[in-house]
């Protein structure tokens, strides 16, 4: 397309020096000059030490090539290709260097830097672990190395169209068939509409193999769910006979993941390809449970906790990315004259972060990011302690409790992260709605994590179940460990929960004191647990079954589990703050402020505080929040820079580290798809036929109207002297 304009597309000259006046490059530098702590030290603290920071940066630097800045403009095929290329590229390179990630944090460092997340995360993150967990040594020996090196690409085919969380209800069938030669095989079928495999990532267009969960049937007898390793595509990407696979369609985000469906019709699978760690079917059709290795329960917990600690840290990292973007933009963006009396349209304006509501919304999420990262660190450390065999009896005793809290924490963390991202996106105003803001894309890509792999409500109710059990134990006088130790006094039927309430707050200082707040959170959780237990028991006494009573109390149980998790996080945060203070008192000061703000914002916006804080205290609470916001303000940018998230990962026009937000927005707009041609495709067909061609020939040249007015009825007005920009 050629343009009739003297300025070719995108070429209105920026000749005047004033074009960049109002440039914002220095704003963030000035912000940083007000920081009261050493950013590098804070980064080390969050990473868990200087050495870890160094290692993280090394890992990150290996993946520098993986830039895909205009991702939001790419279509899905483009995104998938880019993902396949970069993911395989990165991981093969690491493998060649002999590098093996040490823990979940290192895994997430690798993947966070793969800007372009997509289907192969399932190959490594779900398919491989399934082999590791369920395959026999012989099977593992064959398939694991090929998986690691992408010689086969696998997906985890568990969920079905009609079944998600109720795994036991899956309907895919694997029917054993005996052969005359005594070999035997399975016939896999998805016999009903609702039994078709639904949602596995990588299944749609990429995977060559699948770990298929199916009900094992031998002679029409049911043996429960088992996993079958099934080849689903040939080397050219075509589906094998009897298999129909496809993508599910466009999702909110996660576009590089070919989330798929699969129907199977009499797909024959060798008997030896049922994963055989736990059970084996003989050629004659006999079913044997293998001698299940009595697993070390501690190690079992440790693995689960490791995963959950990782997900907690990952959620914290995502929220930290969002907070980084929104905090930077809120310092660059101005709105509203500082002095409204001049009437001069060029006079100075306020940064939006200096409006209290905005400041609260930003810093609340910053504090929450720190809380999640620190809780994740604490859990990671616990897991490492266990792994090194340095476990004390006390630690082992507290494991069930921590393990159960971690289920809820993981659920809560994903939900809080998504909610936080959305509010931070709104904090970026209209521009937050552009995908190139980074924050909108981030939220859309992340959203599935809240509802997938165990909806957050279901997981939190698991935590509630443990809390109710502990309450029962406490009342029976059984010993308790960890956080639920606070329930022990309940063995005395005369014990009053209200005796756990801290003394009423007498000044705003109390609400700025994390130790006071911890007591308050503890009181809330205990009171809620007891109230829930009473509600449940009353319902059962009135004749309900446990299940019915549980469901009738579920709303309250859910909130109670959340309260417990918030308490848990505050406790871990306080512990870490103490550690940080020892390392460097200037870190300690700001970390205490963050802990207090985290807690206070949960009181202001949270649930189950009725009856815990009275109206007078709530005034003090508001005062404390207002003071905390002002105290944290000078560190706003330093706190997010300490997260140390590179621009390449943020992939954000409005959240750039250098503050050149407006230049970036303009550039991204110019580079976007619709602007590839000056004239809209379809303009001639859909718009032009309606236009008044004569009118449009005028091109602003001749006046098209004459305006009649009577000077006598009007008022002559003199302008004011215009100032220079």
């Amino acid at each position: 397309m050629t343009s009739s304009s003297p300025f070719k597309y995108g070429l209105v000259p920026s000749d005047k020096p004033s074009w960049n006046s109002g440039g914002t490059a220095n704003v963030l530098k000035e912000e940083l000059s007000r920081a009261t702590f050493d950013i590098e030290k804070m980064t080390n603290f969050l990473d868990g030490g200087k050495e870890k920071t160094k290692k993280r940066r090394w890992i990150v630097s290996q993946t520098d090539g993986d830039d895909f800045s205009q991702r939001s403009e790419a279509d899905r095929v483009e995104q998938i290709k880019k993902h396949l290329e970069s993911f395989i590229g990165i991981h093969k390179e690491f493998a060649e260097k002999g590098y093996v990630p040490k823990d979940r944090n290192e895994v997430s460092w690798m993947s966070i830097n793969s800007v372009h997340k997509g289907s192969l995360m399932n190959h490594y993150g779900l398919f491989l672990p399934t082999l590791l967990g369920q395959a026999s040594p012989e099977q593992l020996f064959l398939w694991a190395p090929k998986t690691l090196t992408f010689q086969m690409i696998g997906c985890y085919a568990q969920t079905e169209l009609g079944h998600g969380s109720n795994v036991r209800g899956l309907q895919t069938e694997a029917r054993f068939v005996r052969e005359n030669d005594g070999s035997g095989y399975f016939l896999l079928n998805t016999p009903t509409l609702s039994s078709m495999k639904w949602w596995p990532g990588t299944l749609g267009k990429v995977a060559t193999h699948a770990c298929v969960y199916a009900q094992l049937l031998i002679d029409e007898k049911s043996y429960g769910l088992h996993v079958f390793l099934v080849q689903i595509r040939d080397a050219n990407g075509r589906t094998l006979p009897g298999i129909e696979c496809g993508d599910l369609g466009t999702k909110m985000g996660d576009h590089a993941n070919d989330t798929g469906y699969m129907r199977m019709k009499d797909v024959r699978v060798p008997r030896e390809h049922m994963l055989a760690k736990g059970a084996i079917v003989t050629p004659e059709g006999k079913y044997y449970k293998t001698k299940a290795k009595k697993e070390n329960p501690v190690m079992h917990y440790a693995t689960m906790m490791g995963a959950r600690a990782g997900m907690m840290s990952a959620a914290g990292g995502i929220l930290a990315s969002g907070a980084t973007i929104a905090a930077r933009y809120s310092c660059v963006r101005v709105q509203g004259f500082q002095d409204t009396s001049t009437g001069d349209y060029k006079s100075a304006e306020l940064k939006v972060i200096d409006y209290q509501v905005q400041r609260y919304r930003i810093l609340k999420q910053v504090a929450l990011s720190y809380a999640m990262l620190m809780t994740g660190n604490w859990l990671t450390e616990k897991v490492q302690t266990l792994a090194q065999g340095l476990d004390s009896k006390e630690v082992i005793d507290s494991l069930p409790e921590i393990h159960s809290s971690a289920a809820g924490l993981k659920a809560l963390a994903t939900a809080l992260t998504l909610e936080g991202l959305e509010d931070l996106r709104k904090c970026c105003g209209g521009n937050g709605y552009l995908l190139n803001s980074g924050i909108a894309q981030m939220a859309q890509d992340y959203a599935w994590q809240v509802t997938a792999e165990g909806d957050y409500v279901i997981l939190l109710l698991q935590t509630a179940r443990f809390l109710m059990k502990s309450l029962e134990s406490a009342r029976k006088g059984e010993p308790l460990a960890g956080l639920v130790k606070v329930l022990e006094p309940l063995r005395d039927p005369g014990f009053k929960v209200s005796s756990l309430a801290p003394a009423k707050a007498r000044s705003a200082e109390d609400f700025k004191n994390p130790e006071f707040l911890e007591k308050l959170f503890r009181y809330r959780t205990v009171a809620a647990i007891v109230a829930c237990g009473d509600e449940l028991n009353n319902r059962i006494k009135r004749g309900m079954t446990f299940d019915t009573a549980w469901n009738a109390s579920a709303l309250n149980l859910l909130t109670t589990a959340k309260s417990h998790c918030f308490y848990f996080m505050l406790m871990q945060m306080n512990e870490q703050v103490a550690a940080g203070s020892k390392e460097d008192p200037s870190l300690g000061v700001v970390l205490r402020q963050l802990a207090a703000l985290y807690a206070c914002s949960q009181i202001l916006d949270g649930q189950q505080w009725l009856g815990t804080i009275d109206a007078g205290e709530s005034v003090l609470l508001q005062q404390a929040v207002s003071e905390l916001l002002d105290e944290l303000r000078p560190n706003a940018i330093a706190l997010v820079n300490a997260f140390d998230i590179p621009d390449r990962v943020l992939n954000s026009t409005v959240g750039r580290k250098d503050g050149n937000v407006y230049e970036a927005l303009y550039q991204a707009a110019k580079d976007s798809n619709l602007n590839k041609s000056e004239v809209l495709e379809g303009f001639a067909e859909y718009v032009k036929p309606h236009l008044d061609l004569e009118l449009l020939e005028n091109e602003n040249k001749a006046p098209l109207v004459e305006i009649n007015f009577d000077v006598a009825e009007c008022e002559l007005v003199e302008g004011t002297q215009a100032s220079k920009l």
Copy 2:
């Protein structure tokens, strides 16, 4: 592409009758059979009468052709074309039939049925009203008819890259230049990066004209903001000299809107093309204010209120659409065995709506939708009363208050709608993340409304400003009108706010009583207003300026404005419930339950209740909610069907009226873009080179491993008899 599979793509045969077992077509019919009220009557009630329902259905039926079911798979150019075609098609047709919409509701009926929203909504919704409001009669006479019939297409070019809400700070300049022949013209420029026009819909690729807001400068004197009608494109869609326009890039949603930017370099505009209703520049460069017609203040309020009532109803309508989808899916979707003791994977399961937490989340949003629709109706009626000149002094006196509450209401309604949509989306589990669920797309398309055209925080703070003014008036003993009348007793310095508190709730029944709840909400709002006023005054007494004190109290002021709006909605809802009860007592019963649930959920999840309700009452509150949920349950589907939103508008696989959710999901998947070819484009380049070709030749035929196991160490297990599906 050809397939090596005996089943061509998408053709695994669905031969068995069991394929559709677990079909869900009857589920919603059964649900409806339990309804306790007449759905058609409820629809009439929501529409404001039988006649209105009839008219709405007529309008909707005119636009039946506008179906675009796989919208989520279309790229932006496709979506824009489709939008242009359908929007112009619908509106030209209406115009030819001589139909003119009577009120905002009718406008929104027209647009809600234009499934494919996009840029031309700006042409009609912003460009045209600007002409109507700011053009002189001569200008209007020329441009309005051409606008109505798409002979020119306009955009509203107000916001700039650096300026949104602070309109007075806009930096685009219109400099008056005298001509020798005495004609004179303006030169328009965007002199700085931050002054480029940013965000106008239709500007990016479609509009031929723009209403450009610019600072008028004559002889370097400033005359403030004025609007200039500028042609920006020729009839072929090319930008005119000096103008650079483009799209901003892909957004979260709203893909058919070419939200754009514009730079201007010495764009010459005839003197007569400055919109001249309020001011005129003579050829000599003299500036006259026209004899501003003293507008009828009541009519001014009425117009604003009409718009806001419309936005409130629109927000209610969007949330109602989301609630419809989620309620239907929650009845169709099952999860978890009803009887967990059998161990049979085919045994019956619970509908997810029968889990309390899910039931609460769904019905809370249903109740909120009713609250918004009813408040919108109430406002619409008020506006009509005024327009008909039937206004009483009382109504006029209460206008400022209603007007100010409406600002906050509009803000709150958009925010609540977006928040509600997101939770409803989560209620649809993984499938809610698919764009073809309708609900994900809806939320993404709607999201901008919360932050655009006056961020919701800013609008709510306007409401707070009015509340503080009213408090001052009350304390001075000045008369108050409308809702803030409750502040009048404060003229007595000895008056205790606590005297407004209703008697403590003594049973759950109290919390199911909308009148009791209204008192509680009133008490909360008054207490919050007084507390805010005190906080503000104390800060000023301690030496802060009003602006600084205001900002330091902003968080509390914001929450107070919300509390006030929630009270306002409850009051309107109660009024409407009374009206509905008179019409039909069976409607009244369920509407009262909805009002109570609306109020109770705002207590459970809301703010500023500390000190208003004690711990004992909060137990009763929970009990009331639990009972309300059970009482409303049989009407769940009837309540959403009463919204009467056609499938075509919902555009949802999971929210179909007939309940055939799984068939629709499968069909949509098959039709999606990535499945147009069996093999992924790029498979050969990005995947195949890594694959183990030998391994993949096996195609599940030969066993690839041999499994060694020692029978002696294993346990022989017998299966259970499998039941038939």
